[in-house]
């Protein structure tokens, strides 16, 4: 674990995996509640707005990733999905299987949200094997509709609202993953476990 200073009030901690980053973020939120923002990402945790550097240093030395802390939390969220996305055929080609088989593979995986970014409520969902990774489209679409279920690399995600995007679209869900009028605006946060369920058109 390496820590880089990011100016006088922040620290960027490098860890081995997205799951380790998520686990460290949960640990730090409890151990250092006075740090303003704790942001897990693919291989780092950013601690932004540190009042007491010495205390953070001591706490970081104490952290040990445990199997339990790396597991997701809560019940498995079911995401009803219509598999009629614009890139379904291309994904099938690239995996060398039928469209039906793409749906069966995608609905068989239990995903875990590793971290959020890109836009409010956009969660990076881990669980797709690396060998099924789909490279980003060479040129991003200017508008991906809200609720689109998409694959980018070995990540899966649900677009919280219409936005530009370069990921390949499998289908769409009507589940509202971001609603800023809710007390908890994000439906999916780091650690949420979820499974996609096929919904007929």
């Amino acid at each position: 674990m390496r820590a880089h200073p990011v100016g006088p009030r922040a620290l960027l901690v490098e860890v081995a995996s997205p799951a380790a980053a998520r686990s460290l973020a949960v640990f730090l939120r409890q151990a250092c509640p006075d740090v303003q923002d704790i942001v897990p990402a693919a291989a780092t945790v950013l601690l932004d707005g540190i009042a007491d550097h010495e205390r953070v240093g001591v706490v970081l030395k104490r952290w040990q990733p445990t199997a339990e802390s790396v597991e997701g939390h809560g019940p498995v969220l079911l995401v009803p999905t219509r598999y009629d996305g614009a890139d379904l055929a291309q994904i099938a080609d690239s995996w060398g299987v039928s469209r039906r088989e793409v749906v069966e593979r995608h609905t068989s995986i239990e995903f875990t949200a590793e971290f959020c970014g890109f836009s409010p409520g956009f969660a990076y969902l881990g669980g797709l094997p690396e060998r099924w990774a789909i490279p980003r489209r060479p040129s991003p679409r200017t508008r991906v509709p809200a609720g689109s279920v998409a694959i980018g690399g070995s990540w899966c995600a649900i677009y919280p609202r219409a936005s530009p995007g370069g990921w390949s679209i499998l289908g769409v869900t009507e589940l509202s993953v971001w609603d800023q009028s809710r007390i908890e605006p994000a439906l999916i946060t780091a650690g949420t476990k979820l499974r996609f369920v096929e919904q007929s058109a």
Binding site: G7, L12, F118
Partner: protein, 292 residues
């Protein structure tokens, strides 16, 4: 009590201290880009520092005053006028003034700086989202960007407007030419050729017109990657003031609507004390970066 936007100029938004603490949900901090100027405007009209104000951009704005209210304008220097059926009169900058119902308040184009702040006693009372009334232009959280015809509720002020000794403080905060911006070494210095921080501090950079509330874009001598470090980093958390350097070598300093994560390496971090100044740098302005 309300105000009505008659002309929003280039970009006029509601802003306050922002919404820190939600970066892990993908929500930027947002808030007034020149926090000191916004706080001064609030102080002049007797508001707490957390009250919401209007932030204009370069071209000012025209606002309809629906009830008698007390205002102050700070930040980018601009000519101020009050128009009634009887004619127009000039208003003082960085001082409180009271306008009667039916007045049109005109904030002229910025003479120095970019963003002017209009505070009104009682504050702009649009509905807060995640604890803040700020408009986030990147993530579209909070109230919409203001357009002609928008009616804004004003809260009830209880405090007496302060005297205006802070005028002098205000004038000291607009950029010099060249503007001096202090920086700290960033977390990814090792992604750049050796001597890159020295190159940053020995070169002049010019503010590019694409600059926005998301970032201050600069053009100047390209900051080059180390040969062994090509491609992008896995996305990582970004701080306010982070200087990201994309492959073309032209740096971008993140301002308050910046994305919470990014994949370009951060060479340097602008000192917190100089972020307000960055908000007031006009396209074409020259910047010298100096180690903090």
């Amino acid at each position: 009590m309300t105000l009505t936007i008659l002309e929003p100029g280039l970009l006029t938004t509601v802003q306050d201290a922002g919404r820190p603490g939600f970066a892990h949900l993908g929500v930027p901090r947002s808030g007034a880009l020149d926090q000191a100027a916004a706080a001064l405007a609030n102080r002049l009209v007797g508001n707490p520092g957390s009250a919401a104000v209007l932030e204009t951009t370069l071209l000012g704005a025209r606002i309809g005053v629906d009830q008698a209210l007390t205002f102050a304008v700070t930040g980018a220097e601009a000519e101020l006028r009050a128009g009634t059926a009887k004619g127009a009169r000039r208003l003082p900058f960085a001082e409180a003034f009271t306008l009667p119902a039916g007045t049109e308040l005109w904030i002229g184009p910025a003479i120095r700086g970019v963003r002017s702040y209009l505070a009104v006693t009682g504050g702009i009372e649009v509905t807060p989202v995640l604890g803040s009334r700020s408009t986030d232009t990147l993530a579209e959280v909070g109230p919409s960007v203001l357009s002609a015809g928008c009616v804004l509720p004003v809260g009830v002020g209880t405090l007496t407007p302060a005297e205006a000794p802070a005028t002098v403080v205000h004038h000291a905060r607009l950029p010099t030419d060249p503007a001096i911006v202090h920086f700290h070494a960033g977390p990814r210095v090792d992604w750049f050729r050796s001597g890159s921080l020295r190159q940053l501090s020995e070169s002049a950079y010019v503010v590019a017109p694409e600059s926005s509330r998301i970032g201050l874009r600069l053009s100047g001598p390209a900051l080059r990657r180390h040969r062994a470090r090509q491609g992008d980093l896995p996305s990582e958390g970004m701080v306010l003031g982070a200087m990201q350097v994309p492959p073309d070598g032209q740096p971008v300093v993140f301002l308050r609507d910046h994305p919470v994560t990014g994949g370009y390496p951060v060479l340097a971090v602008v000192d917190e004390a100089d972020l307000d100044l960055c908000a007031q740098l006009r396209p074409g302005a020259t910047v010298r970066f100096v180690p903090a």
